[in-house]
């Protein structure tokens, strides 16, 4: 299991390959990766991701440990950036490895649902005209937790 919280960019392809190589006995590997999109309204110049150092790592570790136990994963990976990003930048990725595909898929969705609403990250969109706006949590993201 590997949990990384960092300011620096990361190489999604290389991380996915390394995770898959290390998980040879698993059979099934699922990855999710998130990229900074344009804001829903107006051209976004930048996204700032604030986090809570110390708590972030603990929260991600707990979520990943629960996923590994519940779906008997052979491995799990979470990488999440903070700081300033621009549209097109990779924000984060998760990866799960299991013997069967459904376990790998479900565990990756679980990781994403919990990471989104229970790990202490906050996104702020800075538009080209200088206006800034904290991204609001979505009801649907909170509700997504009810399925687990």
């Amino acid at each position: 299991m590997k949990i990384v919280v960092q300011d620096a960019s990361f190489d999604f392809g290389a991380e996915a390959q390394a995770f898959s190589d290390a998980a040879k006995g698993a059979g099934a590997v699922v990855t999710f990766s998130g990229v900074v999109r344009e804001a829903d309204t107006g051209a976004m110049a930048m996204m700032e991701i604030e986090h809570y150092p110390g708590m972030t790592e603990k929260a991600l570790e707990k979520i990943a440990t629960e996923a590994v136990a519940r779906w008997s994963l052979t491995d799990a990976l979470v990488i999440h950036r903070h700081g300033r990003l621009v549209p097109g930048d990779q924000i984060m990725m998760v990866a799960t490895a299991a013997r069967h595909r459904m376990a790998a898929f479900e565990a990756a969705e679980y990781l994403m649902d919990y990471l989104k609403s229970r790990a202490p990250f906050w996104k702020k969109e800075i538009l080209e005209d200088g206006r800034a706006k904290w991204v609001s949590a979505k009801d649907e993201d909170e509700e997504a937790l009810n399925r687990w």
Binding site: G34, I49, H51, A59, L115, P120, W122, A137
Partner: protein
């Protein structure tokens, strides 16, 4: 006790972190005490349903006791991923 603020809570209060001397017994008591101190706390804590609290880096709630707690953090619902 260390009190930390994140995202727009931090912006409204104006500092990311401060030391607070308090005898409040629960998180809600601490919030009430802060709100009575200065306008900026009133602005930050006006709607508790829009806030989350962590005690010693674990998510908690406003009824939780503060005894033994070293670090309290207030922030809006998280938006990671």
């Amino acid at each position: 006790m260390d009190v930390m603020y994140f995202a727009w809570v931090r912006e409204r209060i104006g500092v990311p972190k401060e030391k607070i001397e308090t005898s409040a017994s629960t998180v809600a008591d601490l919030v009430a005490e802060l709100k009575s101190r200065e306008e900026r706390y009133e602005a930050a804590f006006s709607d508790l349903s829009a806030l989350r609290v962590a005690l010693d880096q674990e998510l908690s709630d406003f009824d939780a006791p503060l005894e033994g707690v070293r670090e309290v953090a207030f922030f809006p619902p998280m938006t990671g991923g």
